[in-house]
Symmetry: C2
Subunit: 419 residues, 2 copies
């Protein structure tokens, strides 16, 4: 019997699963005069199994170091997150600040310090303005509420133009299970401004090993498909909390229930990952690049990522130019095995290049497709059976303009006496 | 005694060495109404030893395949080059067109076909307009002249805004030797529009083995330091012709003369490579990224290239933002071994980051340096003794604008009945 899974979208974001509360406040982290929400809390009223994946960047932000240790050591049951400052490259003081935040939140919640994960996103290299964060923590905890998932999704935004959240309901082993999530994105060439964050809540009852495995697998098939060469920024973090309040039986490894849960989790993460691409900095197009017929899985991945990360290819998409020459050029330098005379490139199913040569499809037909805000490039190398798919965007002049300077942050930090 | 070498700049470009003639004509390759020079010829009146390096891209343009074979097989004595069409991804017909061009030039010059190397640069995927090239070859050969090095430098330009040429005179083993060169560049993120071309002429008398080794070494220390992760585009070609007319004794391997020649050749290529960066598409800044204290040479290279290729880092330079956070972030994902607390970053000698933390140099001081049109980022990892240096540029909104579409080329190709 196939693992048929009916996925129903529901409201509430991270508060949709039973027993989760949330809140967000404005602490003026970027700037004391900025009234936007920038400090958020997710809290489960019941003990959780927790799992996470963290950046593979060798430079890790302080909260990453701290949360990684907490997740290993204890049953994390709350997540405190801020935007506006990444607390990265902040040395011993930065680690102290992250721990202090966890400690203060834990105290208010009646938890142990190591039960509170800490996440930050924003500019790198500036000390945290603890003087503005600490006084807000009591208000943050007091205001916890089962209706404020939305506020958390908004509070973690930096250069995002819209909040990203989702909640679904699925039946696993005969019981209804809910999964909620919110995420924040980044520039799309390589996660920018230090960070992709994604928080997942679920009322599934699931063993720690099974949860960890499901999270890793889902991240591999979602967030790792939108980053440059599989690398991550200093702060990237995905944390999942499962509090078991759905009254399912415990989901264990290698069971049908586990497969169903993994499928549901992957659905949630893929939605979040794709929405990050769509809201990438100054992005105008969502592009799926699929490589088929590669000799090996790694070859398929290399070719797909080379195309998806090529500034020249991305620039041409921005100009509605179905430039297959630049695509094959990128495949050529990707180090994937390729034979020019075998390469086919289709755009939304229309042939742009067949056997390494210009196909007969009228250029205007291809041009009309690339002018859309979403299309798929399919590359068949005809050398084997491996395939790989990545999600990417165009690259716009406005992206560069947007990323030209973070100088204002430094000026504020100096005003704050932090530099 | 150290290999002291006095390098004197002289005039004449590729015609500066004795016995070299050149010419360029307008064949309307891009567009029949375009009067610009686009077909060039370099010719030595005397037999040459020749050496070359070609793109490592797995998709190679037809002229690369053809010239690579010719250089192995015979004593190449002339180079015919065109801009406006890369003759890449043009299949069997493209190879036939490249051979036909060599054949026609050889016939006019009284050489064998395989003594004429062929190079192309321009748009990928369009057939060569041979109907406009063939009638021009007789004029191209007839007009050969010892004063037209300059015309060749101009004829190979595509998106370049200025011609790149150089000629030097040095004393090797007591005899005066001249080296001339011209080159064409490309977008700076990764060689664009299919191609970097560099032609080198010299009247040195040098053994084929010694010449080939010298060319490889010089390319490694120059052109390979300005490309993305050491990869090259479909057409990249460096060809050196040495005709022995300077009456030096024959320069052999492992001699003082050989070391002097290598030094002189490297000087020429580094000048050309750096001028390509300076004239990169819509570039406003020339940036040297040097990594010191890496554990291994490969680590130093990875770290330097990650920084030099980061769109975020390059965008910040464009905005005069001395953003060391983005630099350390790029080092972190480069896969080089790095310990955050040891990393120092200096900009023109001023500390931006010490031990992984913000240094005390006033941000305005750093900002004033990054506002210049040329500066050096020095990264010390303090983990070993290996170092590596690359030359790069900022990334401007205008670059993207410029690279948005090559559609006009396709329209012309259709007018020409080639598609």
């Amino acid at each position: 019997m196939p693992d048929q899974l009916v996925i129903k979208k529901i409201k509430g974001g991270v508060c949709a699963p039973r027993g989760f509360h949330a809140n967000a406040v404005s602490a003026g982290i970027k700037n004391p005069d900025d009234p936007r929400l920038d400090l958020a809390l997710i809290y489960s009223q019941h003990p959780c199994n927790a799992a996470g994946t963290f950046t593979t960047n060798r430079i890790k932000a302080a909260p990453v170091k701290v949360s990684q240790a907490y997740l290993k050591a204890d049953a994390v049951q709350a997540i405190v997150a801020n935007s506006g400052n990444a607390n990265a490259c902040t040395g011993v003081k930065g680690v102290g600040d992250a721990r202090q935040t966890a400690k203060l939140v834990a105290k208010e919640l009646g938890l142990r310090q190591r039960q509170v994960a800490v996440c930050s996103t924003g500019v790198i290299g500036l000390p945290m303005p603890m003087v503005r964060i600490e006084p807000k923590i009591s208000e943050l905890v007091t205001g916890l509420d089962s209706q404020k998932g939305d506020d958390v999704a908004r509070a973690i935004m930096t250069s995002d133009t819209c909040k990203k959240e989702i909640a679904i309901s699925v039946k696993i082993g005969g019981h209804r299970v809910r999964i909620g999530a919110c995420a924040k994105g980044a520039g799309m060439i390589c996660p920018s401004m230090a960070t992709m964050l994604c928080f997942i809540t679920t009322d599934a009852k699931i063993t720690p090993v099974c949860l960890q495995k499901a999270v890793h697998e889902a991240v591999d098939n979602s967030f790792n498909r939108i980053t440059i060469d599989g690398d991550m920024s200093t702060n990237d973090t995905v944390i999942a909390l499962a509090n078991g309040q759905s009254n399912t039986g415990s989901i264990k490894r290698n069971t049908r229930e586990c497969r169903q849960f993994r499928k549901a989790l992957q659905h949630v993460m893929l939605e979040m990952a794709q929405s990050l691409v769509r809201d990438g900095e100054r992005v105008t197009k969502f592009v799926t690049v699929e490589v088929k017929g590669a000799r090996t899985y790694l070859d398929a991945q290399k070719a797909a990522e080379a195309v998806a990360n090529s500034a020249l290819v991305k620039s041409s998409w921005n100009g509605n130019d179905p430039n297959w020459g630049r695509i094959i050029h990128a495949i050529g330098y990707s180090r994937a095995m390729v034979r020019e005379e075998l390469v086919d490139i289709h755009i939304n199913g229309k042939a742009a290049c067949l056997g390494g040569l210009q196909a007969k499809t009228p250029m205007d037909t291809l041009r009309n497709i690339v002018a859309k805000d979403s299309f798929t490039i399919t590359i068949n190398l005809h050398l084997g059976k491996a395939d790989y798919e990545v999600y990417t965007s165009d690259l716009s002049p406005e992206y560069i303009d947007f990323n030209r300077s973070e100088y204002a942050y430094w000026k504020q930090a100096r005003k704050d006496g932090l530099l």
